[in-house]
């Protein structure tokens, strides 16, 4: 191989050096280890675990899934085995097949639940950061509510920061008028980074009966259809805060990764793509060097925020 063909995909997030910026997004990769049936997952930059609450949760009744032309709606409702089981069972199983550090994703219904779950999961050696899901549209009386009010979000972030042994990422909801306001609130509360976007609230109806397909009426829309919306929000948030931004929403290809990083993402999460093709994250990682070469990018970290040299005013 010629010297100039070596493409550097390494990035660093809160001091954790990753081989590449590709992280399967929370809720689309389970607790990771089952993807071993498809490929060697140790190539992944990191993994964001399924959203975890203090106690085990079943989640919403079925149907939880509805199809869209360029994506899907889900209303899982944070099904998970609870923080203790994630720490003692799921993370141990993952460690056997994945040697790198992961991101724990925390859901909740109260300050207490967010704080305690973060305390438990951040104490696991395998975890390098905690991602607060304050933007889940699928849990009644919690989840998203914490992510919509700037005051509450700031206070919650501060409370979790105090309890967490690891850096805290606040995952922002796109279901707001101005996402830069909630991003700034998270930063004021002491967040080490923000990730965005979570799913957009959406709905599908059965044509014969007019009844919503999702059991609880609505759910979270994700997939390639949301990419332009996500890209714009990442772009705006990058200008609004001084902490790392993790970009996601509809990423399907290595080209999408580059575009998201141009907009300001320090790392990216790939969600729905994993569901429609179990090899999606692997393919993106393998394609990255080729796409970088085509675009004349030597070091991926250099392109973060590159779009901002152009005026969009």
């Amino acid at each position: 191989m010629r010297e100039n063909c070596v493409r550097d995909t390494e990035i660093s997030l809160f001091g954790n050096v990753m081989d590449n910026p590709v992280i399967p997004a929370s809720g689309t990769f389970g607790f990771g280890y089952e993807f071993r049936d498809w490929y060697d997952i140790s190539i992944l930059g990191s993994i964001a675990l399924k959203g975890t609450t203090l106690e085990a949760r079943y989640g919403n009744p079925l149907p939880r899934i509805a199809e869209c032309p360029a994506g899907m709606i889900n209303a899982i409702g944070l099904q998970n085995p609870g923080a203790a089981a994630v720490k003692d069972v799921e993370l141990k199983k993952l460690k056997e097949v994945y040697p790198k550090k992961v991101i724990a994703n925390v859901g909740g219904h109260s300050f207490h639940e967010y704080v305690e779950t973060s305390r438990i999961l951040s104490s696991a050696d395998e975890v390098f950061a905690v991602e607060l899901n304050v933007s889940c549209p699928n849990v009644e009386g919690g989840g998203m509510a914490f992510g919509l009010d700037e005051g509450i979000l700031e206070e919650l972030t501060r409370a979790v920061k105090e309890a967490s042994l690891k850096p805290v990422i606040v995952k922002l909801s796109p279901n707001v008028t101005d996402i830069t306001k909630t991003a700034r609130a998270a930063e004021r509360g002491g967040a080490d980074g923000v990730s965005l976007i979570n799913t957009l609230v959406g709905m599908r109806l059965d044509l014969k009966t007019a009844r919503p397909i999702i059991s609880v009426g609505r759910g979270g829309y994700s997939g390639p259809g949301v990419f332009p919306v996500a890209l714009n929000m990442v772009y705006n948030v990058y200008e609004a805060v001084n902490i790392p931004v993790i970009g996601m929403g509809g990423i399907m290809t290595a080209e999408d990764v580059v575009e998201m990083m141009y907009a300001g993402a320090s790392a990216v999460m790939v969600g729905t793509a994993n569901l429609i093709d179990p090899f999606a994250a692997k393919k993106i990682i393998e394609d990255l060097p080729r796409v970088m070469e085509k675009l004349g990018i030597e070091k991926l970290e250099d392109i973060i925020g590159r779009a901002h040299k152009w005026s969009t005013k």
Partner: protein
Amino acid sequence: MKKEILTVEENRRLAADIFEMRLSGTSRPEPGTFLEIAVDGFFLKRPFGAAGWSDGIVTIYYRVVGAGTEKMAALPAGTKAEALTGLGHGFDFGGTKKPLIVSGGLGIAPVKYLAEEFYARGIKPVFVAGFRTASEVILRDELEKICDLRITTDDGSAGYNGNAVMYLKDNDISFDRYYACGPVPMLKGMKAYSEKGELSLEARMGCGFGACMGCSVKTRSGYKRVCREGPVFEAGEVIFDA
């Protein structure tokens, strides 16, 4: 579980809106497992029970219920389709000497394959196949050769007048284990009739291989995914919503 490119070898109408599709390019599935087929223009793959296999060709039976299956019905032989194969956990039938097989509608697909497996082992199962009406009866000739076949129709236009569960209550059939696939009311009826068997469930799926939790059902031993721990479950395990 594998991701494969399959080729449509044959795609033909069996009844008004019921089709048989034979696809090459895959290895032998376990009875009760399913595959997901990508249909051009649709975001999610469509799940179908493996309904037979020979010489590298897997068979599925499907009903046209929406835009995806409508598109499938028009696919000519030679069409390539991306698929995830060998999904889920199938029937447990190794130790069964006197099987009873029960189906409702297109639920006939996976249990027809199971009946073929029993026949290959020298066992002729009793097969109660329920349909809505005579014009929807499929696979009669094939199954009569290898099973003790009992047809039922909801309107009495063929065979027994009533559904498969009613037939079982009216007729004393001895079996050591049953295998049932069909609509939820029928599966509930089977569970109430006996717990000495297995039920094959359906759910709308986000992935089909365990990643999204879109298909979880309640069981006596916690929540289980239809696509991974299922689609086949012990009848006694499944907890149906009221």
